[in-house]
Symmetry: C2
Subunit: 390 residues, 2 copies
DNA sequence: TTCTTTCATTGACAGGGGAAAATAAGCGAC
DNA sequence: GTCGCTTATTTTCCCCTGTCAATGAAAGAA
């Protein structure tokens, strides 16, 4: 084995080729003619861009399957060959590390997780390395290379530098995670904020496909928000954006652990909801599931807690819609488990708070499994690999 | 005179040329080498792009003025020849129409305004046509052509179509203003939302020069917000964006004419402030100037009204900063006349509400004269002319 | 069978922008 | 004063990308 080696590199270096690849990636099997129309390019350009991608194995032609237009010659479908390569996605949370092995189409092939107890960078890194090792072992069975690893972390992340600027969960500051993880795993590593990673996955493979402006709002332990404006995920100049959780929804609201009062988080954060349900019911519920159960059982106080949470979320979404005029807002996160308890309030508060045409923004709920976050991390790795710098 | 004529067309059709022109436009006289560095292009590309622009007269070389680098050959400065062409900018408000005649550098050469009484599209259009005619007469004296007219209107505007979708002030719906005004004035007309127009002016000539992410917040009759994300002005998919005025700041706040309670507008809108000052002081102030005077005279109730307005504005800015992570927020509008009455509260509320690195966003006040809005409209006309589709 | 329609490919070609070399123009060392 | 160093600008190729127009393919319709 050579002491230095050249990492596999994606052949589509031109704008057109990269654009066509992502178009095919997002819009499934496409005829070349369709791809040209969608990407606004000539058919000739598609033919030329597709050829090296097929030669390199990233795209394949389904010779057997044909689509017949109403009239004219049948078309050949081109699609991304998911089996061509693998990627690893890692999502670090306070208590666990989730990992997935995905193919080039970002379909999850293997999912694994390990508990996380310590929070020092060194300890976390060791757990990540362990998890990656496991996933790499699994990958051996597929006989194709793992081309990258994406890591998603809550907090402020400088994606370009691969540095975690600040993670409240882990209590990290300026940890050069990409570099460290690349050294221990031997893979090209990208690091990004967790909600933004999830947003990339939605943009390419989920409910954001084809939209230039949309938002993802996640409800769970924290309230997060990923924004896509002009087709690009917003990261902010300092690596912070989409901080909807600490937007003050009601200055007279409950105190938040951040020191303010009435943050969205204080109304709709997981722990906060549980605490308030415990308070108003006098029970001793300790987690979300129990709190939801109490509300489902019909306790009016508990229901009210959820109603107020929904109201706050809807108001937050209205703010996003008013400011950015997105086409759609995708609501997701573990908090959706209680969705029936506040769905109506979200919609009402949104409609009441959205101004003018912002009301035309579509609200959509997507109950995404938790591994979806790790999948988002893999999506960022794929993005780096195919150099879709957006 | 021919029955049809060809409108003057800007020669820089390539991305590089357009980029270099806007770079020179924004960053004043520049050496070719500097322009290349700023635009991330080769020096050769600049030379090639600049030549036709100089030939067409849009750029000029200041042969006399030279900059000497510490070492090496002196450089020649290139700048936009403002006197090469004129543009008209029109800002329509409820009671007046403001118009400016600017040069290619968007410097105001003539400012005019006419009162506006009727609000029907036809009547407004007649006033606009009258104002444009006056400005065109003024333009004759300069001996250079007027190449376009930009019109700025508050409300929802479809810039691409040139249609005012909804203007609450004028009570317009789906008025194809660009087409109508183009017919009556004989000029190429662009129509845009007023705050977005102002934002373009700031982006190219004001405090937004060189920034990829910033916001403009205007305080006055209404509270507006223009957003620049990834170097582009955000317009939203339905032509609505930056609607910060009706973001609910405090659900227990005063009622707003929009039907909600505690909108930013209800705290900090001009009319609302005047009404509340009247209320708390028992005086009969009727306009901003009087209200400010009362507060300046030291009336504690009046001061409190301004303090609360500042708090609300600061909270709104914090929300923008949390969501988008801009580098700077430019505060402007007639409301700045009372700035000393709420400057502190704005900053305090912003600092209290901004999360993490969002606090690093810089707040800047820019007392812009009212004609600045019309200048913004002219800037949109220039943008159309030079085809900087952003 | 022939025409029409749509898909795909090819080859010629234009133009944009880069690299490298050439030219220009100062400054300081000698 | 000349030489060499440095930076600015221009020139001269030249690659490369993407479009155009022409061609071929493969249906269904007349």
């Amino acid at each position: 084995m050579p002491s230095t080696f050249r990492a596999e590199v994606f052949p589509a270096r031109t704008p057109a080729a990269s654009q066509i690849f992502t178009t095919v990636l997002s819009h499934g099997p496409l005829t070349r003619a369709d791809a040209a129309r969608r990407a606004g390019l000539s058919a000739a350009a598609v033919t030329k861009a597709v050829r090296p991608l097929i030669e390199a194995g990233y795209l394949v032609e389904d010779a057997d399957v044909e689509t017949r237009p109403v009239l004219g010659r049948p078309a050949n479908l081109v699609r991304v060959d998911g089996g061509r390569a693998l990627f690893i996605g890692i999502k670090i949370t306070g208590g666990e590390i989730f990992g997935v092995l995905t193919d080039l189409c970002c379909r999850v092939r293997v999912a694994r997780d390990v508990p996380l107890t310590a929070r020092a960078p060194k300890a976390v890194l060791a757990s990540v390395a362990e998890l990656v090792r496991e996933l790499l072992t699994e990958a051996d069975g597929f006989g194709v290379p793992v081309l990258g690893c994406g890591i998603a972390v809550a907090g402020e992340v400088d994606r370009a530098e691969g540095v975690v600027r600040y993670s409240p969960f882990l209590d990290w500051r300026d940890v050069p995670l990409a570099e460290l993880a690349a050294m221990t795993t031997g893979l090209p590593v990208t690091v990004d904020n967790d909600v933004r990673a999830l947003t990339v996955a939605e943009q390419w493979f989920g409910a954001g496909v084809g939209l230039s402006d949309f938002a993802v709002v996640t409800v769970g332990a924290g309230i997060g928000c990923g924004l896509v404006v002009h087709g690009r995920v917003v990261a902010g100049v300092h690596g912070v954006a989409g901080e909807i959780g600490h937007v003050v929804v009601d200055p007279a609201g409950p105190p938040c652990h951040c020191g303010r009062r009435g943050c969205l988080q204080a109304f709709a954060g997981d722990a906060e909801i549980v605490a308030r349900v415990r308070e108003v019911t006098g029970t001793s519920v300790t987690d979300s599931a129990e709190a939801v159960a109490v509300a489902h059982a019909g306790h009016p106080g508990a229901r009210e807690v959820y109603a107020r949470a929904g109201e706050a979320i809807g108001r937050g979404i209205a703010t996003v819609a008013n400011l950015l005029g997105p086409e759609r807002v995708i609501i997701s996160g573990e908090g959706l488990a209680a969705y029936d308890l506040f769905a109506e309030q979200i919609r009402e508060a949104f409609t009441a708070g959205a101004f003018g045409s912002a009301t035309r923004c579509e609200l959509l709920t997507r109950p995404l499994p938790f591994e979806e976050w790790a999948r988002g991390a893999a999506a960022t790795a794929i993005r780096s690999f195919i150099r879709a710098d957006q």
